[in-house]
């Protein structure tokens, strides 16, 4: 219940109206500010989200590229290793076959002649005083003082292989 004197209601009406109007205006301004602020925050958040998405996309792409390159390199390394291992296996097989064939020479009818030639050869290199004996591996061994000549069949085969090492890649180059 109002304790104001009678007649004051009418005179306060304009004050109330002014206060209400100011409050309305203030509320409208605050609402507008809030709306603008929310729009701005939303826009900033959207931009930031887009930036994060782009960064993540770029990083993901880079990581994928690195991973793909790494995987590709690992696979190629493995493939290369397999090829090299096969080549080495072929070379080992060749060596084995050559050594085997060299051993077979012992049953060749020309073997005695070969021993004679090897002995002459050893004598010519180490001198006539050289001691030449037949090797248990086939071929001959010769010794003169501290000098030694290994004309055994495995040694000769090994030397022949070393001298023709440049031809070994033909084993796989022809494929």
């Amino acid at each position: 219940m109002s304790k104001l004197p009678s007649g004051s209601e009418a005179s306060l009406e304009s004050v109330r109206y002014a206060l209400r109007r100011r409050a309305d205006t203030e509320a409208g301004r605050l609402a507008e500010d809030a709306r603008a602020q929310s729009e701005s925050i939303l826009a900033a958040a959207g931009a930031e989200a887009e930036e994060i998405r782009k960064t993540a996309e770029r990083q993901g792409r880079e990581a994928a590229r690195t991973e793909a390159a790494g995987r590709s390199a690992r696979i190629r390394r493995q493939a290369r290793r397999t090829v090299l291992a096969q080549q080495e296996a072929l070379r080992a097989e060749l060596i084995q076959q050559v050594q085997h064939q060299a051993q077979e020479l012992r049953s060749d009818p020309r073997y005695p002649r070969m021993l004679r030639i090897l002995t002459e050869r050893a004598d010519s290199i180490l001198g006539p005083m050289a001691s030449v004996t037949e090797s248990y591996k086939g071929g001959v061994n010769a010794t003169a003082g501290s000098r030694h000549l290994d004309f055994s069949l495995p040694a000769l085969a090994e030397q022949a292989l070393a001298n023709r090492a440049g031809e070994v890649p033909l084993l796989w180059a022809a494929e």
Partner: protein, 493 residues
């Protein structure tokens, strides 16, 4: 070098003619290999042998020991019937009896040709990748010959590394020798490996890389292998890996084998070849160790007096040759003990090479990679590899302007430490800001980041745009208008 059996090129002395048919030697019996067993002394890596005649200096030999793997050696000295060999694997575990030495009749030789590409070998050229021994072209003595100066052509055209610090400011040129001076603890191996992984030329010729690692830890070797895997798998790389625990004398052979392979790929097969040799200080220490074992008179810091000529026999094997397509470019890496640039190895290297890329611990501490001190670095042949028709018309002027501005920025930064940045002029502050941007945006880059030359130049111009235009007095108005970013021809007015 002692006599060799490589066929000499009548037009180009010093460059052997390749044997297209490969190695087709005489029948085995024509090259008897007499075994000598009169071993008179074992001293460190040296073996003194008596009763050996017809042996030549520098001849390669195999040392057979009963029940042990074969060892290898080179003849160091011949005195009457007494021969001194250095045994690569050392003489540990040997006794005077039971040793048989056989000489090969020629210096140590390796096969030439592209059979090396894609292979991983030890410091003596023996395979580590499970494959067969490298074979192919004619055996070529690893000692090689320095290029005949009459037939030498000046280095030309750039080798682009994809690393801004090098491409922009110390451009590597095809046929040049440009060392990296570093100190232990800095990422010089990372840089060397990045160069080996990324470098290329725009010549259209095949680009090949020979990486000679000397005295490396196994962790470093694993890093090098992983980092260079792609290039290796592509058949563009030869890896020679000498580990820290490998025989020290083998380290002396590693760069020689690398260069022999590179010469063959370059001059016989027309490729541009980059040889990265790391770490040459380990190499020089191996030379010192062998010299001490030979009881030679030591010179500075125990290194032999011939270290200069020894290094020159390696570095001078780079270059371009008249009438040949390819080139050999060398990037040796040196670590300066305690950062001492007057140490014999960097000092003597500096006399021979054509500039240097210096890595700085202070820059590394600021987190910049690669930590190149641009003001101490120099590529003396940059003019032959940069500019119009080679890289870009504005390249040389931009590089000069950046170096000049970096020098001014260093002075301004020193002044700022005394009086504070607030007391500096606006121009001086612009220089300090310029230096930060150069270090962080131009020089700094990822360890596996490949920057195109255009990207590098864009970053260089971005940095220059921070300076007042009046300060850019090494750049023509035409270049400024064309390349400087920003409004009104760019730069602060």
């Amino acid at each position: 070098m002692a006599a060799h059996d490589g066929t000499q090129n009548p037009v180009l002395p010093g460059v052997p003619v390749p044997d297209p048919a490969g190695s087709r030697s005489e029948p085995a019996l024509s090259v008897p290999r007499v075994g000598y067993s009169d071993v008179r002394e074992l001293r460190g890596p040296l073996l003194v042998l008596g009763d050996a005649d017809g042996v030549g200096w520098d001849e390669f030999a195999t040392v057979a020991v009963a029940g042990q793997p074969e060892r290898h050696g080179l003849v160091l000295e011949v005195d009457g019937d007494e021969t001194t060999l250095q045994v690569f694997e050392g003489t540990e575990g040997l006794s005077l009896g039971g040793i048989e030495v056989r000489f090969s009749g020629r210096p140590l030789a390796v096969p030439s040709g592209p059979g090396w590409l894609g292979r991983v070998c030890n410091g003596r050229g023996e395979p580590l990748d499970g494959g067969p021994p490298v074979t192919g072209g004619a055996p070529t003595p690893v000692g090689g010959w320095p290029l005949n100066p009459v037939y030498r052509e000046p280095p030309q055209d750039p080798v682009l590394t994809g690393i801004s610090a090098i491409d922009a400011l110390t451009t590597l040129v095809r046929g040049q020798k440009l060392p990296i001076f570093s100190v232990p603890g800095l990422p010089h191996l990372t840089l060397a490996t990045q160069i080996a992984a990324q470098a290329t030329t725009s010549s259209g010729r095949a680009f090949r890389v020979v990486f000679a690692a000397m005295g490396m830890t196994h962790a470093d070797i694993a890093y090098i292998r992983d980092r260079l895997e792609e290039r290796s798998a592509a058949g563009e790389l030869v890896l020679l890996l000498n580990a820290a625990d490998d025989p020290v004398i083998e380290r002396i052979l590693t760069p020689r084998i690398a260069l022999t392979v590179a010469e063959s790929l370059a001059y016989d097969h027309g490729s541009d070849v980059l040889v990265v040799m790391s770490d040459m200080t380990s190499y020089a220490e191996a030379v010192r160790e062998v010299s001490a074992a030979r009881r030679e008179i030591p010179a500075r810091r125990g290194y032999p007096g011939y270290l200069y000529s020894d290094l020159a026999t390696l570095y001078e094997r780079c270059g371009r040759v008249q009438g040949r397509e390819g080139s050999v470019t060398i990037v040796p890496v040196l670590t300066m003990p305690a950062g001492d640039i007057t140490h014999p190895v960097p000092d003597l290297t500096g006399y021979i090479t054509e500039g240097q890329v210096v890595l700085d611990p202070d820059i590394d501490a600021r987190g910049i990679y690669p930590p190149v001190d641009e003001l101490s670095s120099l590529s003396r042949l940059m003019r032959s590899g940069a500019g119009k028709g080679r890289t870009r018309e504005d390249h040389l002027d931009v590089a000069a302007q950046i170096l000049s501005a970096m020098a001014r920025a260093r002075s301004a930064a020193e002044l700022a430490e005394l009086v504070g940045t607030a007391a500096l002029s606006e121009t001086d502050n612009a220089y300090i800001e310029f230096r930060d941007v150069v270090e962080h945006d131009l020089l700094n880059q990822g360890r596996d980041e490949l920057r195109t030359f255009e990207q590098t130049m864009t970053r260089a111009w971005q940095a220059l745009s921070l300076l007042p235009r009046r300060e850019l007095n090494m750049l023509s108005a035409e270049f400024l208008d064309k390349y400087l970013p920003g409004p009104v021809g760019g730069a602060r007015l």
